[in-house]
Amino acid sequence: MTIKKIDLNTSILANNEIWAQKNRELFDTHGIFTVNMMSSPGSGKTTIIEKSLEYFIPHFKMGIIVGDIETTEDANRLKGRGVPVVQINTHGACHLDARMISGALNSFNLEELDLLIVENVGNLVCPADFSFGEDLKVAVLSTPEGNDKVRKYPDMFRKSHAVIINKIDLIDFVDFNLDRVERDLKNLGSRAEIFPMAASKGQGVEAWCQWLMSKVRKAN
């Protein structure tokens, strides 16, 4: 009996990558720009999307996917604005993967989409490793979480193209040092755009929206 050696050189994440590639092909075919928004729970992702809609709606045909372990609360908040919203409940899984997004895409008329924003499950760890085929990753960090998070959870911040520092209006109450966050991001080799924001008050939302709109236009 002979022993045979088989060189595979296959990614361990191949299963997710196959689905991500399928999604990417669909996005390319239909000219859809996609954003993966990631953060810990409660940093303000849904509020940021809510406040961004008024800037995006006049320019793009948008769609939103929101991921949570349970409930449709986020989808309910975003509905009624003329934008299709699909809620994914992962029932325990701590991130959205490419296959889940692929399933959710069936609920959209892809011909009618230019910009798809995906609000990932609140978690600073796993979503960074499971791409669904997106164009941009955006991390949100809110000031009450503390300014050490970039160093503590470097993977997500290193991979993000933009970092929104939300709840900047609370900065004086929570001992948050924006310079330190900027320095930590630089030390990760990050070239991410940084957007200080107080989404609930609408502060800083326009700068982020203008930046994203320029990215969408450049891609088309």
Partner: protein
């Protein structure tokens, strides 16, 4: 991270490949894991031991894991350096942060070894 689910996928990949290559028993498996990949080798080993017997294709296989430390190239001074801490990617020589990661993000099955199924030749 998700070592259990990933190891399950690894074994399914091996199962499919073994079938294609007429392998009846896997004797050795090698994975390459970069330390920036957020995958813990010990957790992979644990998952491998839990799953390897079902189906029994790899139940006696040896799992080898090569861990790779992240290496980067500094675009400012041209030096190659090892990233010692995953929150500190600046160049060890000049402190520059314009760097390119060259390794450390690997996450793949390099190879496996296995016994080929013996073929019975029937005499005509």
């Amino acid at each position: 991270m998700h070592e259990t689910a990933l190891m399950y996928d690894v074994l399914r990949t091996l199962e499919a490949s073994a079938k294609e290559n007429n392998i009846e028993e896997i004797t050795e498996l090698k994975l390459v894991i970069g330390s920036l990949s957020s995958i813990l080798p010990d957790a992979l080993r644990f998952a491998f031991d839990a799953f390897k017997g079902s189906p029994p294709l790899a139940q006696d296989a040896v799992l080898k894991i090569e861990e790779r430390k992240p290496q980067a190239l500094c675009n400012s001074c041209g030096s190659c350096f090892t990233i010692e801490n995953p929150w500190e990617f600046s160049c060890a020589r000049c402190g520059g942060v314009d760097i390119r990661i060259q390794s450390g993000e690997e996450l793949y099955i390099e190879y496996y070894k296995g016994r080929e199924r013996s073929v019975d030749y029937k005499e005509n």
